[in-house]
Amino acid sequence: MAVPPLSLGDFEQLVLLALVRLKDDAYGIPIHDEIARRARRDVSLGAVYKTLDRLEQKGFVASVVGEPTAERGGRRKKYFRIQPAGLRALRHAISSLQRMAEGLVLEP
């Protein structure tokens, strides 16, 4: 194993997974909606941005500012894209979870 990946929080994992799913269309609202729809979690847009900011500082995601559009009242979009380090961390987190859960039957 090369560089030990930094650990990811629960919500960070959801956000990164949303980025992977959305590919080129990953900005605030689609990310928020993706998490709401798939993970069934009602999160606030502010929390999404806060998390993305943190992930960017860790070097897990990169952002690009798009062109202003009319439907946004002339405001620009900020697109996010997962970075190799982020992908590694995500893979690590998911496989840890899978390994931990393997062969278990979760009953009360």
Partner: protein, 875 residues
Amino acid sequence: MSRLPMLARAFLRLVDPNVREFVSGDLQESFDRLSASDGVTSARGWCVKQALGAAVTNPWRPRQRLAMRGDGVIRTLLQDLRYGARMARRQPSFAFVVVLTLALAIGANTVIFSFANVLLLRPLPIRESDRIGWIFTMDPQRGTNRGGLSIPEFLDYRAGLTTFEGIVGTTRGSAVLTGRGDAERVDVSYATANVIDVWGLRMQRGRTFSRDADRPGMPREIVLSDRYWTTHLARDPAVVGTTMTIDGRPATVVGVLAPDIEIGNLSSIDMWIPLELSPTASRLERSVRVTARLKPGVTIAQADEEVRRLAQRLAIEQSASNAGWSARVATTHEAITGPDTWAVLALLVTVVGLVLLIACANLANLVLSASATRRRELAVRSALGASRMRVIRQLLTENFIYGIAGGAAGLLVAYFGLNLVKAVSFDPFFRWVSIDRNVLLFTMGLAIVTPMLFSLLPALHSSRADVNEALKDNGTRSTGGQHVGRSRSVLVVAQLGLAVALLVLATLLVQALRNIANAPLGFDPRPVLTGEIELPRWQFAESPAISTFYEQLLVRLQSTPGIEGAALTNRIPLLGSESSGEVAIEGRPSTRPEDRPWAVPAVVSDTYFSTLGISRVAGRTFSTADAPDRAPAAVVNKEMARRHWGTPEAALGARVSLASDTGDRRWAQIVGVVSDVLRGDREAVNPEIYLSARQRPQRAMTLAIRTADPGSVAPVVRGLVRSADPDVPLTLRPLQDALDEDLSASRVLGGLFVAFALLALVLAASGLYAVVSYSAAQRVKEIGVRVALGAMPGDITRLMLGQAAIRVAIGAAIGVAGGRVLALGASTLLYRVSPSDPRTYVGVTLTLAAIALVASYVPVRRATRVDPLTALRLD
């Protein structure tokens, strides 16, 4: 794309600017999508929640950024504020005086601003009222420039005008409502059926008038006011659709208006009924008020031009009724305010502005003295490296605290002042005045600006102090230097001058008010009760029935003990309508239409002149001889006789006819001349023609009863009227009350002027006191030397009073000149008072001199009692 909810936008402003744009864009995108799918309400809720969430998770922290700048603006400001608050606590009496002065001055300004707010800023209940033009007719000969239209004229205008998209006619009146308990008189606005749509009024129940409701012969409809619906019908929703009997005719209630319309004189309307637009109505009765909505893109000036052209055409085509008349279009703001309103408002604004200036001068003086004692502190600050800017800023910030406290207290003063005004005034205008958002903003602005006004001068002085000198000074001898002394003198002189000017104005206005109240009316209102009677049309269609009812009523009243006289008139003097009519004089064919004689007509009973105390000048007044089948008789007033016959005697025997009798002219012979009665504006008298009620019975009359005991007579009269006919409503009130009510607005304004002038005087006197006692305190040592060298207390007193006298004299001279300027500006309000009435100017100057003498003598006397030994040992 629709705008985000206001609350959401507000929250977004708190979001870190680094992400604000992206969050806002996201919200905008989702908001439009959600509004389409889930409805606007839920989209709004979601949006606000998200914006709040974003503000919490990604807050903007401007303070960090500011604090990073070298100076630290916010930190310094907070420091200065804390220091200022500490200073204020250390000298509570100083703080109290400052806050009190500010509270009075700001309160006075707030009250006046709240008046201006109603007139200038408050939106009217009419939608887009700046697109509404008011069509007024004018006849310069009668001094009318806000006349109404007759109904046929209204129809001509409606057909002929192209610049308006909706033309509304309204006229106020009263009607008798029967069939629901006692007969009841209701206040009605008769309006064309489009009034609700064109004015953009809101209905809260039912519908508006049907489109043709104002055509003759259509079923009658009623729209109730919210107030009437509440007070008389207990907000019963089932009332819509029911039938009421109005003036004996059934009418259907179709709806209830929302309460927004109930402001000003619209607030007393009980119900709205379609105005019957009958083309055959009289062209001489110009009682319809016309408001019209401009077509998009049309200006008031263009509409005005069209209306003037149309009026010119009508003056030719309908010369019998319209010769000499023109018309114009006025803006809503001009239309809703009386002719004197602007003059009064401008004057009030000037006066309170001056009061504020005086207060500022006073406070500047106070702060100057206070900062003189702080010279050493400020010098130490400078010596330790504080820049001049820094010191000035500190002093300004400290006074800022007083401004805020004074503003808050001023708001309280204004609140109680307004309640007082409302309590003593009957004028509906004042009921309309309140402290709203505009007023609050204004007061806040004053609270911030005022401290800058009064503390800038002292701050400049203090910061200029010579550090070296100030530090050597041990504090007791702190004179503040020559500059300060001169500034203080200038301030005091300015205050005295402004106070004199205001006092002059207030004194003149009080005299004018007294003149109005005491103006000889031409009749004696004191022991007279009046009440309006309107006989229902359906029961009293015939003249004989009307005459019989009124004659019997008068006979019964006159035989009632306690009643000294009873009379009927269709026009009560001074308060009644003064619409004039053209008069034809037999044997004098009228030449040009502008030269035709005119008069204000009235129909009166035989006893009218004796009951109201109007004296006979020549001939006789009406009597039983003027029976309906005899030759018509007329009585004119002295003014009418003077205009057309020269003397009262010459008028007797001449025959006159009111022009409304076109066709079959009924000539009436002048049998008598009576004394003049003052006109409603109390400026002059109108020519008047009285006709006999026996010969011209009218259904609507005003009962006038002379009695020494109004309290016990009123129920008797009411009983008599009811026993004569239970369907006749009657309210009695003393005529004097009605006259007082008519003057109450002027009384309130006069009271305000006096209050402001007194405030100015008190401020100026206390300013003078402060200056004299301060300079006396400073000169203790000098006085000590003089006394030691043999000066007598009298010499000292003379010396110091002499200096005060010079200031007073200069102030008074400025004030007299300023007062004259104010008085000339207010001359339209000065009823029978000369703006340069010498007694006023002399009186005010002497009053000021006396007060100034007292204000200076007290501190001077204290100074002369100084023990020379103590004084010399100072320092």
